[in-house]
């Protein structure tokens, strides 16, 4: 059993910043991450690729600074370490190379980040349909450049990905966006506030200009997504836009609808969650330091609510200051004074969120699918099956799971919970956050058995 003052789950911007801040404040930190090196999703692979892949931009290289700060004797970092359970009393159960360990500390910080929102539409399970985030990871980590890809959905990540593809000579075949001019117009009332984050806004505008200048055909207000397989593994992707039906043939359709907090672990740990209308997602309830209703448990970064890398870094530092305070290493006054810098950074970084959330709100059609569209990829459950199961029994997530198996697959609902909720909501039913259970990641029976107190004789 490893002892530390603080165990941090996730080595993305929030986790890395919290680790170095806490360590510099004198706390012993155990940093755990499932990936084989630090960086998280935003800076994935930054330690190995940092100086090679220019197309990834300056922001990406900024991750290096966070990684370098992890060289601190107060930090023990374990990679390839997947946390699969939090116990009451701040014990963290994690698995590395098929062996599970239990580490305890008075404080735990969850910094597990975000995941992409599911984008279900007819045909989305076909080979060749991938998430935009997946394509970006493959570019970052493996240098794999999408071939003649069509980008579809909504959200700033699509612009970033398109621009990176253009820079590397892998120009997308088309950019098909679901958001309408109307939603942009509505979102514009948040613009004055967003000006606080003017650099981010300008960056976004530059990306859009670059995509247009490269001559990538663009569509907005697109709907009626459907895709089918044609010859040679190619896909035919069709949609409606500008009152007309369009269709592209492509080997690779990259879809995206924004990101949402990854709440599996926080839900399984007894943290209270609420539905956020603004972000159309469940969020853990935290205070201004990231503390939750579970004693000793903080959450920082995208896992607490989407804000992006800069916001995550600031939130990680805030949580670390609060934990240092609770450890008796900072007085309340010192904590509050130290917090001033990160708090204004957080405010700046978050200023643009209301605009982005409104402008790129998920499309209703993709959030509340109908008909044969697969909702649960693991168990192959369609929207129709879910709707039919609601006829004569309790209308809520537990019932849907028991009646249709949606959410019972290997991913335990990570890929379908939100869609199930969307379908439920469209039927006027209960929207309480679905229960999550452990293990958070699959664990071998033999590995689990090794944790039993005594061997059976």
């Amino acid at each position: 059993m490893t002892e530390a003052d603080l165990i941090i789950v996730g080595a993305g911007p929030a986790g890395m910043a919290a680790a170095s801040t806490a360590a510099e404040g004198g706390a012993g930190v155990l940093l755990l991450d499932r990936q084989s090196r630090p960086g998280g999703q935003a800076f994935s692979g930054v330690t190995v690729n940092g100086d090679r892949r220019e197309f990834l931009g300056k922001d990406y290289l900024a991750g290096r600074i966070l990684v370098d700060a992890l060289h601190n004797s107060n930090i023990v970092a374990e990679y390839g370490a997947s946390v699969w359970r939090l116990e009451r009393g701040a014990r963290v159960v994690w698995s590395q190379n098929d062996v599970s360990h239990i580490s305890s500390a008075p404080h735990v910080l969850l910094a597990g980040g975000a995941q992409e929102r599911p984008t279900p539409f007819p045909g989305w399970t076909l080979p060749g349909v991938m998430s935009a985030g997946a394509a970006q990871l493959l570019m970052k980590n493996a240098g794999l450049l999408p071939r003649d890809a069509v980008l579809a959905g909504s959200g700033p990540l699509l612009y970033l990905l398109a621009a990176q593809m253009i820079d590397t000579g892998a120009r997308p075949k088309a950019l098909v966006e679901t958001q309408t001019r109307l939603s942009l117009l509505k979102a514009s009332r948040h613009l004055p506030q967003a000006l606080l984050a003017a650099t981010t806004l300008l960056k976004g505008l530059r990306l859009i200009r670059r995509i247009r200048n490269a001559g990538v055909p663009g569509f907005t207000g697109a709907s009626g997504f459907r895709v089918r397989q044609i010859a040679d593994g190619d896909l035919s992707f069709s949609f409606n836009a500008r009152g007309q039906e369009h269709s592209f043939t492509t080997p690779l359709l990259l879809t995206h609808q924004g990101v949402v907090p990854s709440t599996h672990i926080s839900r399984a740990s007894g943290v209270d969650h609420v539905w956020s209308d603004a972000q159309s997602a469940y969020q853990p309830v935290t205070d201004e330091w990231g503390a939750t209703n579970v004693p000793g448990l903080h959450i920082a970064g995208d896992g607490a609510g989407i804000g992006g890398a800069e916001a995550a870094e600031a939130a990680g530092r805030l949580a670390a200051f609060d934990i240092l305070h609770q450890l008796g290493r900072l007085s309340e006054d010192q904590r509050n004074r130290s917090a001033a810098g990160p708090r204004s950074a957080l405010r700046r970084a978050m200023a643009i969120r209301p605009f982005l959330d409104a402008a790129y709100a998920p499309s209703r059609e993709l959030s509340e699918p109908v008909g044969e569209t697969i909702v649960c990829r693991c168990e192959e459950v369609s929207a129709d099956e879910i709707r039919k199961s609601l006829i004569d029994s309790a209308q809520g997530p537990r019932h849907i799971k028991a009646a249709t198996r949606a959410g019972m697959g290997p991913c335990q609902g990570r890929m379908c919970d939100l869609t199930v909720c969307g379908v439920l909501a469209s039927c006027g039913a209960d929207m309480s956050a679905p229960r999550a259970r452990t293990p958070i990641n699959p664990v071998r029976l033999g590995e689990l058995a090794a944790l039993a107190p005594s061997q059976e004789t």
Binding site: R405, G409, D430, T438, P442, R444, L445, A449, E456
Partner: protein, 373 residues
């Protein structure tokens, strides 16, 4: 909403209430089932799906007979439900093992089966198998298993599909199921009852059956019943799907028809806390790899806890209210195994028909007697 009040209102839409509804509907009664919200504890959504005879009623002959009747009636009940609902229940009564890793427990269980045998005579058959003999016929069994018992009458179903299929069957027979209808109060009203729902809505009924699992606890007293039901937590594991079939069925390890393995069997008094615990997860895993070492590399994808509905002695309670004629309490553990009984003889009993069985032994007055003694 029906304007005419139903002959019988069943409070609770778990396997017990729904099985009973099927039985009463087939008797020609009009039936309404009131069921609670999605957040309710439901043993019917978290159980192990065994249709099991071994060890049932080793010190209470009436329960041994009841379970034996139910197990024998399962094939016919399953085809009825499958026909009404169009749902395959995956009933397999292929025989099942109880595995033991502790010699004393093994001996004790075997002695219990002997007793059960003495109650049931040739209606029950079982084998007691020593570890080494077992490994000769089942080389996959681990060295840590000291012995096993086997009964060819034991089997299992898919419990989630059973629940769904019962719902569909009730609908197919013209019964009404009202979801999200938590009953907060019941009062006797002339010849009948007034039922108040959480929403404030009121319904009237001629007769009322309380079959609300753990929810019965708060309503039983109002109707003059005194059985205290309590929760007992059981924990289970489920693994990823296996392409091959497990070569045996046991009371603690079974393969669901979709392919995953369920490992279960813990018992804990933890109030209404249905969390999964690390200790139970680890000990279930250890049991699985002790019994069948080749399972070592199979991955567990979920663990969960569910609450058993327990009467003081663990046996069913079938009781009519001594104070309010027309009110019944039906509660039991092993509601899956007993489903055919609830969907047949018990319905006759409530309906007071000529075929009504004698269920005297299951009245709740047995608790009053044991208290007085």
């Amino acid at each position: 909403m029906s304007t005419r009040s139903p002959d019988i209102t069943i409070i609770g839409g778990g396997v017990v209430g729904l099985s009973l509804a099927v039985g009463l509907l087939r008797e020609g009664r009009s039936v309404t089932v009131l069921d609670g919200p999605d957040s309710d504890h439901r043993a019917s959504q978290g159980n192990f799906g065994l249709v099991w005879l071994q060890g049932k009623g080793v010190d209470f002959a009436p329960y041994a007979h009841l379970s034996c009747d139910a197990v024998a009636a399962w094939p016919e009940f399953a085809s009825l439900i499958q026909e009404l609902s169009g749902t395959d229940l995956a009933l397999r009564q292929s025989g099942g093992f109880e595995f033991f890793t502790d010699a004393a427990e093994f001996a004790e269980f075997a002695a219990g089966l002997k007793q059960q045998q003495s109650f049931l005579g040739n209606r029950f058959s079982h084998d007691v198998i020593q570890g080494d003999d077992l490994r000769r016929s089942h080389p996959e069994i681990g060295a840590g298993v000291v012995g096993a018992t086997f009964s060819a009458q034991d089997g299992h179903v898919n419990p989630l599909r059973l629940l769904c299929a019962l719902r569909r069957s009730v609908a197919a027979l013209g019964g009404e199921i009202v979801p999200g209808a938590r009953v907060t109060h019941i009062s006797a009203a002339g010849p009948g009852f007034d039922i108040t729902l959480h929403s404030g809505e009121r319904r009237s009924t001629e007769r009322v059956v309380l079959a609300a699992g753990l929810g019965s606890a708060s309503l039983a007293g109002i109707l003059g019943f005194q059985t205290p039901v309590r929760p007992q937590r059981g924990e289970l594991l489920i693994t990823e799907k296996l392409a091959t079939r497990l070569p045996f069925l046991s009371s603690t390890i079974r393969q669901v028809d979709e392919g995953g393995l369920q490992v279960g069997g813990t018992k804990a008094d933890a109030g209404y806390d249905d969390s999964e615990t690390l200790d139970a997860m680890a000990s279930l895993a250890q049991h699985a790899v002790t019994v069948f070492p080749a399972l070592r590399d199979l991955r567990v994808i979920r663990a969960w806890g569910a609450l058993r509905v327990m009467t003081p002695d663990g046996y069913p309670v079938y009781a009519c209210s001594p104070v309010h004629p027309g009110a019944y309490l039906v509660t039991c553990h092993s509601g899956v195994t007993l489903a055919p009984l609830h969907g047949g003889p018990l319905a006759h009993w409530i309906d007071n028909s000529a075929e009504a069985p004698d269920l005297e032994a299951f009245d709740e007055d047995r608790f009053a007697l044991s208290c007085a003694a």
